[in-house]
């Protein structure tokens, strides 16, 4: 499933639509809810990565490719923010471009695995 990355900039309109239509299943509320759903996936990824952020090194992680964001804060915070932004951008874009393994490929993968079978189940 692809993630629509264009939704991140439409937060205001999403909230307005969703609040206006409450729980009704009109097209607008469905679209808005779907939109929110995509955004929260981004938030989930961001949360995952934020959880890991405490281990980020002092220097930028994506040398030469991190998107630098000048937020006018001390360099340590700027470095963290820049690295995190690059990671989140990366993960969101990677997910948008990625695809699941087809059913046919999944069966072929299973064949590959089963072809490795060895006799018995040994002690471990």
């Amino acid at each position: 499933m692809n993630i629509n990355t264009d939704t991140s900039l439409s937060i205001t309109s999403v909230s307005a639509l969703t609040e206006k239509h409450s729980l009704s299943q009109s097209k607008d509320s469905v679209a808005a809810s779907n939109n929110l759903h995509f955004q929260l996936t981004g938030v989930m990824l961001a949360a995952t990565i934020m959880t890991s952020a405490s281990t980020l090194p002092f220097q930028p992680t994506f040398n030469g490719s991190a998107v630098s964001i000048d937020v006018g804060v001390p360099s340590f915070r700027r470095t963290r923010r820049s690295s995190q932004a690059a990671i989140v951008t990366f993960s969101t874009e990677l997910q948008r471009r990625s695809q699941s393994l087809s059913c046919e490929d999944s069966k072929l993968l299973r064949k590959v695995i089963l072809s490795k079978a060895q006799p018995g189940i040994p002690r471990f």
Binding site: S8, I11, T12, V14, S15, A16, T18, E19, L23, S33, L36, H37, L40, T41, G42, V43, L45, A46, T48, I49, M50, S52, P57, T61, F62, S65, A66, V67, R81, Q84, A85, A86, I87, V88, T89, F90, S91, T92, E93, L94, Q95, R97, S98, Q99, S100, L101, S102, D105, L108, L109, V112, I113, L114, K116, A117, Q118, P119, I121, P122, F124
Partner: protein, 191 residues
């Protein structure tokens, strides 16, 4: 969500996580993990001093079942999925098998695997035997930590590689994409 203003909720999330993707250059961020760049962006390195998430151990036993229900045992290098902080205090360790890329050449997705754009696989590049290797994220195996430690001590299991810093970021990204993708709309609607 009854009783919660969605607008306020989104505003709150944006305040807590002010790093949602904007209009930066994803192309540039993505390209560094493509196969042709893998020699520049090192994903795998020699083992760290202490074992850590993403380490590759070899050999690791995996068990599957045939369509008839018969158990199938096989061995492969395994990548540790368990968080580093859990490796010394939890009873179980979860590993996923590593496969040679060439073993997957019958798959229609074969050419996309080195681009790391298939949910199920983490492409590592050349490591272990010198071939190109792939982690199959869909085949986790749980093993008792104490037995793995014992077999490492005895020399029956070797620690082959650890992830570099960038490799680890790629790993958690692929892991999150594989297991934390959102449900389809209909399913979410039923929750």
């Amino acid at each position: 969500m009854a009783g919660i203003s969605l607008g306020e909720l989104i505003k709150f999330f944006n305040e807590v996580f002010p790093i949602l993707p904007g209009s930066e250059k994803p192309e540039q961020a993505l390209r560094q993990f493509h196969a042709e760049e893998i020699g520049v962006i090192q994903v795998i390195r020699s083992p760290l001093q202490l074992w850590a998430q993403g380490d590759i151990l070899e050999p690791i036993p995996f068990i599957d079942w045939t369509e008839e229900g018969e158990p199938v045992f096989w061995e492969a290098p395994g990548m540790i999925m368990t968080s580093t902080c859990d490796l010394d205090r939890k009873e179980n360790i979860v590993l996923c098998p590593c496969l040679k890329l060439t073993e997957l050449k019958e798959l229609s997705a074969y050419k996309s695997i080195p681009e790391n754009t298939i949910f199920d696989f983490l492409f590592l590049g050349k490591c272990l035997t010198g071939d190109e290797w792939v982690v199959d994220l869909s085949h986790p195996m749980t093993l008792p930590r104490q037995r793995i430690e014992k077999r490492i001590e005895e020399g029956n299991i070797s620690r082959k590689h650890s992830l570099t810093d960038k490799g680890w970021y790629l790993f958690i990204t692929k892991f999150a994409i594989k297991y934390l993708r959102s449900d389809d709309f209909e399913t979410m609607n039923q929750r």
